[in-house]
Amino acid sequence: MKRQVPLLITLFVGTLLIFSVFIPPMENIGENFTLFFDIIAVFAFFLGGGNLVRVHISKLRRRKKDYGYSIITLVGFFFMLIVGLFKIGNPGGIAASVTAEGSIFQTTFTTVLIPLQSTMYALLAFFVASASYRAFRAKNREATLLLVAAFIILLGRTPFGMMLTSWVPDSFSVLQVPNLAIWIMNSPNLAGQRAIIIGIGLGVVSMSLRLILGVERTYLGEDRG
């Protein structure tokens, strides 16, 4: 029971979904499964959210280093939970949408979460700079190709690229940086993309078959090693 049932479920569900593509009366089954998944995910949140609370409470209890921040995390979590689930301070009351304008839930989202999200996202500007610097020091031929292509595309998207090569006569306009950038995007870049994408497709097909046929079963907590 413990070992076979999960494997049979995977086999059955996987095979069903593969065939549903070819059988019109079953064509909506994929959407249904997505719906099931969404519902399962809500239940699973009891486990994830429970884990979050447990971890921080245990830090607090044991007075671990930095336990003060755990208090803040817990307060934030329960605050959102309460104002959101009971729609406290929602101008439209319990019947209104939880994200209604002016509700405490939505206001917290815009004043606290949005700036945090966009700043974290914006850290990328610095990290892109440091990654580029590292790429610059790379010595092998592959890294050089990456760098040259990146440099041309980058220049091609700025007015500077235009200025730099405006002296190139029009009969060789291909060599002007913006045109070169377009050519790279449309030709070698496209070729590389295709090879990667086709490879991914085959990789997914093969892995899916391994999972469905039960050849690959580590995820189920069944390693036979």
Binding site: L35, V112, Q193, G201
Partner: protein, 207 residues
């Protein structure tokens, strides 16, 4: 109130930026707030959108939704050590569904479509292409082919095969370079966006 919101937003923005210097209490505070508030935000959204919106409202009309709810419930049996193993059922259900669904999706979009798009006349329809296009077309065909050679697992990259694989990895590197270069600019504009918030919305230095 609006004023307070602005200051909170600025405080948190600077808190996250302080991470660039080093880990520090300001960042830790911003991080703790971020984790707590965002986790809470997700539970609430999942509850209202998925549980209430999809299951509670819909289960009368579509009794199949009970399958999702039952599987979700089985998942919770993990909390009972003796029968915790039952929670593998919903897990294997999800794995089977994901594998089956994506297998056919990737099949048509990643394999069939890409192969079809690569079939094109090198010299254009009726030999009309310019030298520029011809070079481009040849590069696409050769690049796709050699890129696939690179991914071959069952043959050592040696001799002519190895040389082709080498050409393949060059194409793949150019592709990576192109995406890298393409993204740099948009990442910079994110920074400009945040600076605009700090200096214009918050401090009012730039009008």
């Amino acid at each position: 109130m609006e004023h307070l919101g602005l200051w909170v937003a600025a405080f948190l923005t600077l808190g996250i930026y302080s991470f660039l210097y080093r880990d520090n209490p300001w960042y830790k505070l911003s991080e703790a707030i971020f984790i707590g508030i965002s986790a809470g935000y997700w539970v609430v959204t999942l509850f209202w959108d998925n549980f209430y919106g999809k299951f509670w409202v819909g289960h009368g009309e579509d009794p199949w939704l009970w399958v999702g709810a039952v599987l979700g419930f089985l998942m919770l049996l993990r909390l009972v050590p003796k029968i915790g193993w039952i929670s593998r059922w919903p897990l294997s259900f999800i794995v089977g569904a994901t594998a089956g669904l994506w297998m056919m999706n990737y099949f048509s979009s990643n394999i069939m479509l890409q192969v079809k798009d690569t079939i094109m006349p090198l010299f254009g329809s009726g030999y009309t292409a310019s030298a520029y296009d011809i070079v481009g077309n040849i590069v696409v065909a050769v690049g796709t082919f050699s890129g696939l050679v690179y991914f071959f697992f069952s043959k050592e990259h040696k001799g002519a095969f190895g040389a082709t694989a080498k050409v393949g990895i060059w194409f793949i590197m150019i592709t990576f370079g192109a995406s890298f270069g393409y993204t740099v600019m948009s990442r910079m504009s994110l920074l400009i966006g945040r600076m605009d918030f700090l200096f214009s919305d918050w401090l009012g230095l730039i009008k």
